[in-house]
Amino acid sequence: MGQTIIQKIFAAHSDGSVPVEPGNVIWLGLDARTARDFAGPNVVRNYRRHYGDAPVADRTKTFFTFDLVVPPSNIPYAINQQICRTWAGEQGITVYDVNAGIGSHVALEEGLAYPGSTFVGTDSHLNIMGAVGAFGQGMGDKDITFAFRTGKTWIEVPETMRVVVRGQMPANCTARDLTLAVLRRLGSRGALGRAIEFYGEAVEALGLAGRITLASQVTEMGGIIGFVPPSAEVLAWTQARVRRRQPQAEVRGVYADPDAAYCETVTLDVSGLEPLIACPPSPANVKPVREVAGRRVDSVFIGSCTNGRFEDFAAVAEVVRGKHVAPHVMATVVPATRRVYAQMLKAGVLETLFEAGFIISNPGCGGCASGHLGMTGEGQVNISTSNRNFPGKQGPGETYLASPVTAAWCALAGEIYGGER
């Protein structure tokens, strides 16, 4: 019997004493282990308590990435970040500090995660690494403390399902609309505890930014990881970044065997897709934008690990060039990383967004976890490109999740609007 992608990656990162079959528990070697300004201080606390002054297993594979409240806007986060910095200094661990951006994206840009690699950290959207065919897993602070000290983790091999997205997506739709279509089909538990492999011409047509969007929302489908088999473009992009650290490195994609075993195959066709939006109270409550069009919008947030790439903001700039955000709308933009910010600066995207009336913040997560931007008050209607809209998460208002393009049209119109497209 052939192997799925996750079986191959796990087999290459374990000692072979236990067959890499669904349901078996193995010790998985970790190419990179990380903690953020959220849970990082908890990791330091656990580590000191259980391991004292012992060194981490490998400081070249251990990182902090500050992205949640950056720079700190409150004293608890300032204290917590400094706890991590001080301890990282003692241990000789690299910190991607408050100016770097979202840890998962920084890791891709820095070549810390690459096809076939394993990556863990205190971020539930680390399955973003599936966008380049790597295994990424969000974990709690105990798991990460153990991973810092030992370089490995226990893991139960999940089953894999196939999601095949056929057809050519219409020009007025984006990777986020495709992702919402998959989420509508699978629901919040359609991939519960499973790995996904994404196939089909609509998936193959996605660039890296679109693959990141799709992979990131696997969390909201209940899945552990969603692999997009790397294209030649993705292999070249990741290899260039890995070579900044290891000049001779050869990046190779990991692909499933033709006779690999899947627990389920779900097929959908996006040829007739229209712009979609996830309405309160959950990311899986997906509807066509036109069904909720006309509702007054108070704020718009564009950014997050799901839709914070240069391509996302360039698409927004196309919509808003020469126009202006509606007077009653608070519209904010948060680039995922400093590199994305620089790209926006050089391409003139920042200027276009500025002229259109957007508030532009430094890179980071934005408002997902009471960060700087994107929180709501009672009665406020918020259109967001982030990844969750559960009640109360970003405050008492109502958050709708949509593509950057839809969010841009809503910002201009001051109401939910699918755009002239």
């Binding site: 959220f38 849970a39 709690g140 153990f146 139960e156 969750r388 559960f390």
Partner: protein, 178 residues
């Protein structure tokens, strides 16, 4: 050896319409505004304070009580606090039809008994607040008020090993010595 048979008073997490809560997200269990907290002793008071109808759970629950919920309990983020807040309150076990994948890992690593009860929705009406539930972690047998029995999933081998050791760190020491 820790006992593999535990018993406690039930809190059945239902929404205002009386339906068992599904997809209880970690922001409903332990809201992101408290994420800066690192001391487990401080976490308990915020448990479930963003879940409609359960805002005062921390005041009502008593050590040894058992919490029951529907599908995909603990969906969402990786925050350990969403598990440790229940430990901090002395909650004896969580029983749900299914759990979020990261949440289940975190609970296992903390030594909190989490029991998956796949057929729960077929019996959802039967369980009420204050009922006494007994759980055999090794066999997965549940007993309600000493009378009716149900079949949940037994602990997996690694889950039992970590539970018996106490937590992931103690388990790691045992593995290193072996």
């Amino acid at each position: 050896m820790k006992p593999t048979h535990i018993s406690g008073k039930l809190w059945v997490l239902r929404d205002p319409h009386g339906q068992l809560y599904d997809d209880v997200d970690t922001d409903m269990i332990f809201h992101n505004r408290y994420l800066h907290i690192t001391d487990p002793a401080e976490m308990g008071r915020y448990a479930l304070d963003n879940l409609r109808g359960w805002e005062d759970f921390a005041q009502r629950v008593r050590p040894g009580d058992i919490v029951m919920a529907g599908r995909n309990f603990g969906a969402g983020s990786s925050r350990q606090q969403a598990v440790d807040c229940f430990l901090s309150l002395g909650v004896g076990a969580l029983v749900a039809e299914s759990f979020g994948a990261i949440y289940k890992r975190n609970a296992i690593n903390s030594g909190l008994a989490v029991v998956t009860f796949p057929s729960l929705s077929r019996h959802a009406e039967t369980f009420r607040n204050g009922d006494v539930l007994s759980i055999d972690l090794g066999s997965g047998e549940l007993q309600l008020n000493g009378v009716r029995t149900y079949r949940a999933q037994p602990f997996s081998r690694v889950q039992m090993a970590i539970y018996q050791a106490g937590d992931l760190f103690a388990y790691g020491e045992l593995v290193a010595q072996a």
